[in-house]
């Protein structure tokens, strides 16, 4: 636990209600959504203004106390688990105001702790659209999304969080305020520090404000579901859709293992023999949506889709997409522990990757289901196990090691959207190079001379 003097200082600065020092409270900030051992912080503080945030960081820096910044604690790579027992957790959730939604210039200014889905809803109310939709959007924070460069279902057409960051203001390790980017589309004033802080996983600074790009919403959408006997046919169809110059806003797939488990649970009458299901949605101007939908249907039929379902209305579409929505919850119910991965490969390699995942799971006698974003090659192989069974869990770890080897061999990546944190740090060099690790560490040491910000995450410091 932190010293009484420090606790008292923070209580004076932030108010007692924003300083959590009891063992039970600290314990509840010792974990996040990653399947990793918890580490209890020495104190948890929740600044409610930017000035307070900067003062907190300054004070911790002066005292040489390690810090871990945390939003809602939903990341899947351990990025918000404290590094050491003397770490102080800084919550951004007390800074949760939407400062501006500008409908003329198409941007919004937000504090770091605004909840993604609430922001998207507020933007929608103003007739605009904020596309990034990570799976945790109902609870995740915008600064957490930026720090992890969160993806979502709309990546193929609309990009990911980094494509919407126009500017940021952040507090560096010493407590100083740094600004980069602006409210303008073009801005080349200084280094692109907004780009640097995006995806930095709390290792370079603490985001205190962000300017986010907004876009006009699509006027029309059209969805369909296609069934394939084989994963390769589904992949061919995906390639065919892209080759036809149609960029769907969502292009999701479920593999056979996932289909069977979802059908077992929902009794929805899914095609249990199918090698894969694709869920496709196109959006845009009504006339173009019409053309695109026709092109997609044609490609699906040419690529041996055994069935194509086109919903007649919103209710039917909702029902069709139930299988995708249910994928993770259903897999999670199969066994006590769910290890949700996000290995990503060039989209043409999806069949090879899915086959490798299944072969590896068989080799290590593990249950796995794979679903994910077929349009951008982002797979979610989901290993089902019980972490209390040490033998089984060590087989899961070995299987994941092998899976990443395959992903890298297929010119893919360890992590499409979940981040490195501590969970995947050991594989970083394999995908990049020794030089990348050394460069990143030198960068960190220069910006954070005492090595206080999330010190064990990413490449370490």
């Amino acid at each position: 636990m932190a010293s009484q003097a420090l606790i008292k200082d923070f209580e004076e600065l932030l108010g007692k209600e924003n300083v959590f020092s009891s063992e039970a409270d600290r314990m509840s900030y010792s974990y996040d959504s990653a399947v990793l051992p918890p580490v209890m912080p020495s104190l948890v503080i929740r600044p409610t203004t930017r000035e307070q945030l900067s003062a907190c960081v300054k004070k911790l820096y002066e005292n040489g106390i390690p810090m871990t910044v945390r939003g809602s604690g939903t990341n899947l790579s351990g990025g918000t688990i404290p590094d050491k027992s003397d770490t102080v957790v800084i919550l951004t959730t007390g800074l949760n105001r939407i400062l501006e939604i500008n409908t003329n210039d198409l941007y919004a200014v937000v504090e770091p702790g605004v909840i993604t889905a609430q922001f998207a809803a507020a933007v929608e109310k103003q007739g605009l659209f904020y596309p990034p939709d990570p799976g945790s959007q109902a609870v995740s924070t915008l600064a957490g999304n930026i720090a992890e460069n969160a993806g979502g279902l709309r990546g193929l057409k609309y990009g990911v969080t980094k494509d919407y960051v126009m500017g940021v203001e952040f507090i560096d390790a010493t407590g100083a305020t740094v600004k980069s980017g602006s409210r303008t589309v073009k801005c080349v004033t200084g280094y692109n520090l907004a780009g640097l802080i995006t995806q930095s996983e709390g290792t370079l600074g603490i985001i205190s404000e962000a300017v986010l790009k907004l876009v006009p919403p699509p006027k029309a959408t059209r969805a369909c579901m296609a069934v394939f006997a084989d994963m390769q046919d589904a992949a061919d169809a995906v390639a065919g859709i892209i080759a036809a110059h149609v960029v769907p806003c969502t292009l999701e797939f479920l593999d056979n293992n996932t289909i069977i488990r979802v059908d077992d649970y929902t009794k929805a009458g899914l095609p249990r023999e199918a090698g894969a299901i694709l869920l496709i949605e196109v959006d845009g101007h009504p006339a173009q949506v019409e053309d695109d939908a026709a092109a997609v249907e044609k490609v699906l039929k040419e690529n041996k889709a055994t069935a194509v379902h086109i919903p007649k209305d919103a209710a039917e579409k909702f029902k069709l997409w139930e299988a995708r929505r249910a994928a993770l919850p259903v897999l999670a119910r199969c066994r006590p522990t769910t290890v949700l991965e996000d290995a990503t490969v060039p989209r043409s390699q999806i069949p090879a990757m899915v086959k490798a995942v299944n072969d590896i799971a068989a080799k290590y006698r593990l249950e796995v289901g794979t679903f994910g974003h077929a349009g951008d090659g982002n797979l979610h192989p989901t290993f089902l196990c019980d972490k209390r069974d040490k033998d089984e869990f060590s087989r899961v770890e070995a299987a994941i090691d092998e899976m990443f080897d395959v992903a890298i061999k297929l010119k893919g990546t360890l992590s499409g959207e979940h981040g490195i944190g501590t969970a995947k740090a050991k594989w970083m060099e394999k995908e990049t190079s020794r030089g990348t690790i050394l460069f990143s560490q030198r960068l960190r040491r220069a910006l954070d001379p005492k090595g206080l910000l999330n010190s064990t995450k990413l490449v370490g410091i």
Binding site: S22, A24, D25, S30, S33, G94, V139, P329, T338, R388
Partner: protein, 430 residues
């Protein structure tokens, strides 16, 4: 159970169920308590981690865990939204029982749950003595809801604006009801619940009127008492079982097809918790209780699903009513469409949905007694949604929610009135 190790061993029975939590944090989106405090220990993911750590002796402070467990409305919103389907309510109830057994139940709670609520005649006597006295202590709040308050009892009651106790409770008015089956052929056991019997008697009268109108015979025996949810929520299973035994005694010999209550919490308790705890009373009692539980039904659901009451075309000058989904009705029993139909069954009313209609109102039964400040804060969000809907009446299917809605609306000096759905429907029947 005297050592921490023994406590931990007992908590390990929850281990398999707690491990199901994948720590995704989705409970944060729906938890009313987390919405008010933003503290991780107030949301299900945090509480499950604390129970887990106590069970594995990583945490050695059961009082702190008990305190955190108490900061929960047991509204079940987290469980209803939980991706891996963790049985959160079950875990919380059992953990409260185990931890409170270790720490000992507060003597006042022990007196209330095991003596007052377990012995209906005593409870009724206390109310009979108390009700006429309330005029001496309480004064009218002067609001549209008709609540009363007691400024000089603020040290004890907080600044609560509450519905006055009925001069004559329902059981005194009617004694035992045991009507022969009429032309409708259906007979129901009617469970008014404590609040329906002693406080919201207009609501209960409305229910009886509706049942009479539909020619449904009523069985309301003597000796019914509290359904047991307050005791259970406080971890006092012993008290709950004493109450359950009294209720079974009253209900076991009736001839009826359904057990109806106007209280969503009572219905959910009868349907879900009575059978879960029944075995502790013995195998014979278990089968009787399972039989009763299988017949339990919310009165709105009964009117719509069994009697086929339908929505009417609203009249031109229909008054707009908004509906609050009680947690136990929607999240435990899955009853959400029927109460809305019941409101619309009266052409004098039209339904106007509020935002977040199924977000907890913040009452949470005994939660309100121990955390009135948070209860009010959570209630304020509900009040804001009610008022923003522009409705003149807010209806609910649970008198506990009605108490909470009246309190927050009264404090904001809003003109919106609070009614039970069946009261609105009853007005259209002559």
């Amino acid at each position: 159970m005297t050592t921490l190790h023994e406590l931990a061993q007992r908590l390990l029975v929850l281990d398999d169920r707690i491990t199901d939590c994948m720590k995704c944090g989705m409970c944060q989106a729906v938890c009313p308590m987390f919405g008010a405090t933003g503290m991780e220990a107030d949301v299900a993911r945090g509480k499950l981690a604390l129970i887990d750590n106590l069970a594995h002796e990583m945490l050695k402070d059961p009082a702190a865990v008990a305190e955190k467990l108490g900061r929960c409305l047991l509204c079940g919103s987290c469980q209803a939204a939980c991706p891996p389907g963790v049985k959160i309510m079950e875990i919380f109830m059992e953990a409260r029982e185990i931890v409170n057994e270790f720490l000992g139940l507060h003597p006042v709670k022990k007196m209330i749950f095991r003596t007052l609520l377990a012995k209906p005649e005593l409870f009724n006597f206390a109310i009979r003595v108390g009700a006429p006295m309330q005029g001496l202590m309480f004064k009218k709040s002067g609001d549209a809801q008709g609540t009363v308050c007691a400024p000089f009892l603020n040290f004890m009651l907080g600044d609560r604006h509450i519905h006055p106790l009925a001069k004559t409770p329902i059981h005194t008015r009617y004694g035992v009801i045991d009507e022969p089956r009429g032309s409708g052929g259906i007979k129901v056991a009617f469970f008014p619940g404590c609040v329906g019997d002693k406080m919201y008697t207009d609501m209960t009268e409305a229910c009886l009127k509706v049942l009479r109108y539909h020619k449904v015979a009523v069985f309301m025996p003597a000796g019914l008492t509290c359904c047991g949810i307050p005791a259970l929520s406080s971890g006092d299973v012993k008290g709950m079982l004493l109450q359950l035994r009294a209720n079974i005694q009253a209900l076991r010999n009736g001839d009826y097809d359904y057990v109806l209550s106007p209280c969503g919490s009572c219905t959910a308790t009868i349907k879900e918790f009575w059978p879960r705890y029944a075995l502790r009373l013995g195998t014979q009692e278990k089968s009787i209780i399972e039989g009763i539980a299988a017949k339990a039904m919310d009165i709105n659901a009964f009117l719509v699903d069994v009697l086929k009451v339908e929505a009417a075309q609203p009249s031109n000058d229909a008054i707009s009513v908004t509906y609050h989904d009680s947690c136990h009705l929607k999240k435990s029993l899955g009853v959400a469409a029927q109460p809305r139909i019941i409101i619309q069954a009266n052409p004098a009313y039209k339904l106007t949905e509020m935002a977040e209609a199924d977000r907890c109102c913040g009452c949470g039964g005994s939660f309100n007694l121990f955390h009135y400040d948070y209860s009010r804060k959570i209630g304020q969000r509900k009040r804001d949604n009610v008022v923003a809907s522009g409705a003149r009446i807010v209806a609910a299917g649970c008198p506990a929610c009605m108490m909470q809605l009246e309190d927050v609306l009264s404090h904001n000096q809003d003109a919106v009135r609070v009614k039970h759905t069946v009261e609105l429907y009853a007005e259209s029947l002559h």
